[in-house]
């Protein structure tokens, strides 16, 4: 089974303090650690597991500057066979739609049975690239996938619904599936994997290679134009306890006692 995985290199912000930069349209990136998008970590693992079971290849694709080579190398070290990076200054400020078009321009000429993407990326959270890609490729899709099994020309997937409910859906192959976190347990990179990855080539393509025009990508080719970023207004600010950890703990314990909770 030949699988294409779409990967994004993103800043880790879950536990970092975020500031808006001077342009007002992006966050301050200095000091942030970049790594593979959390969802894509599971995407890659799922692809490699399918390859290990059924044979075939895994190709990792990303749209980004040279910065993202680190994440592509990680994919190669963990079992991807090939890596493609699409890069061009014209790609800047692309939203999920423009990114999907860029990915499509390459994927349409590749041979594959399955395309896997993350449900969303932790930075812009569009939740759209996978299913747009499927529509552009003219194939079926399923999203928020938590389990994949294969039948005769079909994938049988568990989709995550709300409140712990799931549904089983059967999708004809080839298809695009967007993977939800928790579908598997991503492996660590082995030393041997890293050695092997160093020898593999990262193919670099630019706008000219995509066959797209400049106004189909970047902000011009996007559905959304970012006007301004801001820190969400505080609706109900917490009352903060400060002091030494012991002092804080005393205040919390006293509060709980006053509320009859201990």
């Amino acid at each position: 089974m030949d699988i294409i995985v779409c990967i994004k290199h993103v800043p880790e912000t879950a536990e970092a303090e975020i500031k808006i930069d001077r342009s007002g349209k992006a966050i301050e990136k200095t000091g942030l650690v970049f790594d593979i998008n959390e969802w894509d970590d599971y995407v890659l693992e799922e692809a490699v597991r399918i390859k290990e079971k059924f044979g075939g290849t895994v190709t990792a694709i990303t749209v980004n500057t040279e910065e993202a080579n680190r994440t592509l190398r990680k994919c190669l070290a963990r079992g991807a066979d090939k890596a493609i990076r699409l890069t061009d200054t014209k790609f800047e400020n692309s939203d999920g739609y423009a990114i999907a078009k860029i990915l499509h321009s390459v994927i349409k000429d590749l041979s594959f049975d399955l395309v896997l993407t993350g449900v969303l990326a932790s930075d812009d959270g569009y939740t759209m690239v996978g299913s747009i890609l499927a529509e552009l490729l003219g194939i079926s899709h399923s999203t928020m996938v938590k389990k994949i099994e294969f039948g005769d020309g079909v994938a049988r997937v568990n989709r995550e619904l709300e409140g712990g409910l799931e549904e089983i859906v059967e999708v004809k192959l080839p298809a695009v599936l967007t993977i939800q976190t928790g579908i598997n347990e991503p492996r660590y990179v082995s030393i041997m994997g890293i050695r092997k990855a160093m020898k593999k080539e990262i193919k670099v393509l630019s706008l000219a290679d995509t066959g797209l025009s400049a106004n189909e990508v970047g902000e011009a080719g996007s559905w959304l134009k970012i006007d301004e970023l801001f820190i969400p207004p505080v609706e109900k600010q917490a009352e903060f306890f400060s002091g030494t950890p012991e002092r804080i703990a005393t205040k919390i314990a006293e509060l709980l006692k006053s509320r009859g909770l201990i």
């Binding site: 912000t13 879950a14 536990e15 970092a16 303090e17 975020i18 966050i27 999920g96 739609y97 449900v119 930075d123 959270g125 569009y126 939740t127 759209m128 690239v129 299913s131 747009i132 499927a134 529509e135 552009l136 079926s140 899709h141 399923s142 049988r156 989709r159 995550e160 619904l161 709300e162 409140g163 712990g164 549904e167 859906v169 059967e170 999708v171 928790g182 347990e185 996007s222 959304l224 134009k225 970012i226 006007d227 301004e228 970023l229 801001f230 820190i231 969400p232 109900k236 917490a238 009352e239 306890f241 400060s242 950890p245 804080i248 703990a249 919390i252 709980l256 509320r259 909770l261 201990i262």
Partner: protein
């Protein structure tokens, strides 16, 4: 008159709340844009739902078909693309739910209409549509403008708009199903109910909940002890279940459980909206997090900006102290 469409979402015989939230916001927009509100209902034996919706919208377009009993994005896309092409609504609302995210992006691509996803607000400025959405797990809001179009599609975050009481007496318009005999490439098989775990966290008065900030599974026992000392149960946010550190029946949030304890102690949880929706109605929320801008502090009653491992042992100690004082007196 031009219309604003709202796609009704239903599952297992129930109209889902997001539908009424979108209808409320839609009604507000019709006044400003001189449009009328139309609910789109695709289902099987759905007349009862149509009647409910008619109290929230001026029109209900009802299409009934055996194949519409359960959601199927491929079938929905076929029908909606015909309806939108024909009626050219100013705007189509779809929920940013597990159904909406499966449907909206490919539908918009097929129709070549611009889409904004996961919106928490929207405003028309003339014909231009501006939206507010979030980035970086809710730590940043972004104002954006959708590419100018005669018709827009947006998906709306759950529980963002408050559904109002119904005030309308709309017309139900039945349309014959346009579905052909063609066999879809995607097929719904069945629902899988969540497995019930050893503890029902929704019944607990005190919940100690852990998130990404606990760093490693080896730190779990420290928190478990605190929960035990407090007489509470241990729960968590999504990343903990994803890593396999706690079972899914302990997960609080949109894809897990909704809880309302007397005390919710959030440790190392940044507060993505999916988690917030599952716990914001707790009586007292205390959050401990290293990031002073973590969204959880906007919902907590009390906050502590500190490394949770520095504070937790002391909390346990102080609680034991206070408990023993009570026992002595």
């Amino acid at each position: 008159m031009r219309e604003i469409f709202v796609l009704a979402e239903h599952r297992q015989g129930q109209i889902r709340d997001i539908t009424f939230e979108m209808l409320t916001k839609g009604a507000e927009l019709t006044e400003k844009t001189n449009t009328c509100l139309t609910a789109i209902l695709l289902g099987k034996d759905a007349k009862k739902h149509a009647e409910t919706l008619s109290t929230y919208a001026e029109n209900v377009l009802l299409i009934e078909d055996e194949r519409l009993e359960n959601f199927n994005s491929e079938i929905y896309q076929k029908i909606l693309s015909q309806l939108i092409n024909k009626k050219k609504p100013l705007l189509t609302f779809i929920g940013h739910t597990s159904y909406g995210v499966d449907l909206a992006p490919s539908l918009a691509t097929k129709l070549n209409l611009p889409l904004a996803t996961d919106c928490i607000d929207l405003t028309f400025n003339g014909e231009t549509l501006g939206v507010t959405r979030q980035m970086y797990g809710g730590k940043v809001n972004v104002k954006a403008t959708i590419r100018k179009s005669e018709s827009y599609i947006i998906t709306v975050r759950q529980a963002t708009f408050t559904a109002q009481k119904p005030t309308m007496n709309g017309e139900i318009i039945e349309i014959a199903s346009p579905l052909s005999e063609e066999i879809p490439k995607t097929r719904f098989i069945k629902y899988l109910l969540p497995s019930s775990g050893d503890i029902d966290i929704t019944a607990a008065d005190i919940i100690v909940s852990i998130g990404r900030g606990i760093k490693d599974v080896s730190n779990k026992p420290i928190i478990e002890e605190l929960a035990k000392t407090l007489g509470g149960v241990l729960a968590c946010s999504r990343p903990i279940v994803d890593k396999g550190w706690l079972s899914s029946d302990r997960q609080v949030g949109t894809s897990g459980k909704t809880v309302k304890p007397k005390l919710y102690l959030a440790l190392g949880i940044s507060g993505a909206f999916q988690h917030i929706l599952g716990m914001k109605n707790s009586d007292i929320i205390i959050a401990i997090n290293k990031d002073p801008n973590a969204p959880i502090f906007n919902f907590a009653n009390y906050g502590v900006v500190e490394d949770l491992f520095k504070v937790v042992p002391f909390i346990k100690e102080k609680i034991i102290e206070l408990k023993s004082v009570r026992t002595q007196s």
